[in-house]
């Protein structure tokens, strides 16, 4: 099992979620996050006082899938979330040791 963490543009959340759904991925966790990378921040001015905001709002999607689906999920996210501009985001993949479904007690890949 792998965990896929995709940090994407907030405006891309709905289309990524829909695209994943058509590929059979129906379970995911979404978090509002802020962060910085290559994308420049923005400047805000309140009553003449300027603030440079470096931490930009993004959305983080977490999905845990069987190893064989990892490539496909990454492909879907990449296709939908890409604009070609700086700031499209990152995807991280890591190993997951085990999984449990709280209601049924299912373990491992059965729990996904």
């Amino acid at each position: 099992m792998k965990k896929i963490e995709a940090i994407i543009r907030p405006g891309k959340l709905d289309s990524v979620k829909d695209a994943l759904g058509t590929h059979g991925v129906n379970g995911l966790t979404v978090t509002q996050v802020i962060g910085c990378g290559k994308q420049k921040g923005n400047t805000q001015v309140y009553r003449g006082v300027e603030y440079n905001v470096h931490l930009i709002p993004k959305v983080k999607i977490e999905i845990v899938v069987m190893d064989k689906y990892v490539e496909e999920v990454i492909q879907v996210i990449t296709n939908v979330a890409r604009t070609g501009e700086i700031g499209d985001g990152k995807i991280f993949v890591s190993n997951v040791e085990n999984a449990y479904t709280i209601r049924t007690g299912a373990i491992g890949e059965n729990a996904l």
Partner: protein, 409 residues
């Protein structure tokens, strides 16, 4: 007695009341979220404090029988003798108790205006003491000088229709002193102090604008044509100042902001307050345009140059806007609008401008000196400012034990 006038002034009283909760929201949206409740409290608790202070002591100090032009006598302590009979000295057609209530709402909002200057760093007990002492030793005498029969600024011929001197100049300059005495917020210029909820501020500005119709039109003290003129002038100046701020900001910084347009409206309302019942609607346009522009420059340019931390611009809006309004009254006042007023500079009477300037100067000197003394005296008895740790945690939690926006559940 006139039932129309009485009902009009009671409605205006309620309108002016609403300005203080409006001010709470206007200021509350501009602070960081960890301090929003403390900022709302500053206005809300003042409603409680001043409502009682005014009934017990404030009203008689401000409007009681004159003592040497300086202060009202204690004849009406606890509203003794203030009842349904009109007091012809102030408003011959409405019950004295209604006039008292209308004036009470002015006494409520004025100290609350100051709180914008020292937001995010004042201890609550020191705040309460400051508000009570300031109302008693600054607001009440000043209201007597300008509005009280026999008050020396009134006798001098200074015009202040709805409270430019008494409300805005006094609170604005007092705020500047309070900001200087308390010192800057920690991290100013290094950490972000951006407003946490501009829609809240816009809601507050809207309530202020709405309530200001009662503030200015009600100051005609009757449901009269003069009230109608003050009503129109109020809206005109607010509209002009909101536009002026948005335009100047765009020319200066490239974008018009919502916070700026809301601030501009308030600056315009402040600027028209002293002249609302003395000038024409066309003059109100100019007073508003200048009010928005001058306050923008004071807040965006002058404040940065001098570096004082008037956190929410109580001085920039009310001190500067009020000063401009008082002087503008000396320029644009005309007897064709209000025969009980006077002609200003543009109508051939330069002396009124001099009198207005003198009344501003006296108000400023008095407010500045008295505020400084009051804060120093309170400082001898208790700490004025929260500890560094309390400030870092935020005043919601450290002073009031509450969280404005709990993250979970």
């Amino acid at each position: 007695m006139d039932t129309g006038d009485t009902s009009f002034i009671m409605i205006c009283t309620a309108l002016v009341f609403l300005m203080t909760p409006g001010l709470a929201l206007f200021y509350g949206g501009m602070v960081r979220k960890k301090n929003v409740l403390s900022t709302l409290m500053h206005s809300w608790i003042v409603i409680g404090l001043m409502s009682l202070q005014w009934i017990v002591l404030g009203y008689t100090l401000a409007f009681g029988p004159d003592i040497h032009g300086i202060i009202g006598g204690l004849n009406w302590l606890g509203l003794n003798g203030v009842g349904v009979e009109p007091n012809a000295d102030y408003a011959a057609t409405i019950p004295a108790i209604v006039f008292m209530a209308f004036q009470m709402m002015f006494a409520v909002i004025t100290p609350a205006l100051i709180s914008g200057s020292f937001a995010e760093r004042m201890r609550f007990p020191a705040f309460v003491a400051f508000m009570l002492l300031w109302a008693t030793f600054v607001y009440d005498p000043l209201a007597h000088w300008i509005w009280g029969v026999g008050g020396f600024l009134r006798n001098l011929g200074a015009l202040d229709f709805a409270g430019g001197n008494v409300v805005h100049i006094s609170s604005g300059y007092s705020g500047l002193i309070a900001a200087l005495v308390l010192g800057k917020r920690k991290g100013l210029g290094k950490e972000s102090m951006a407003p946490h909820h501009i829609p809240m501020t816009v809601l507050g500005a809207g309530l202020l604008w709405f309530g200001w119709f009662g503030f200015n039109a009600g100051s005609a003290l009757g449901a009269s044509g003069l009230a109608g003129i003050a009503f129109v002038n109020t809206n005109t100046a607010a509209a002009a100042a909101a536009l002026a701020w948005a335009v100047v900001e765009r020319l200066h910084r490239g974008k018009s902001t919502m916070l700026g347009a809301a601030s501009g409206a308030v600056a315009g309302l402040v600027a028209i307050t002293p002249g609302a019942g003395f000038v024409t609607p066309l003059s109100s346009i100019f007073i508003g345009l200048m009010g928005g522009t001058i306050c923008y420059l004071a807040i965006s340019v002058i404040k940065a140059k001098f570096g004082y931390d008037d956190a929410l611009d109580a001085f920039g809006c009310h001190g500067i806007g009020g000063t401009w309004g008082a002087l503008a009254t000396g320029i644009f006042a005309t007897k064709t609008i209000n025969p009980a007023g006077n002609d200003g500079l543009f109508y051939g009477n330069a002396s009124l401008l001099g009198i207005q300037a003198l009344s501003v100067l006296i108000t400023v000197v008095f407010a500045v000196v008295a505020t400084f003394i009051i804060l120093k005296v309170i400082g001898l008895v208790m700490k004025l400012r929260v500890s560094d740790e309390q400030e870092a945690v935020g005043l919601n939690l450290s002073l009031h034990g509450e969280d404005a926006y709990p993250d979970f559940i």
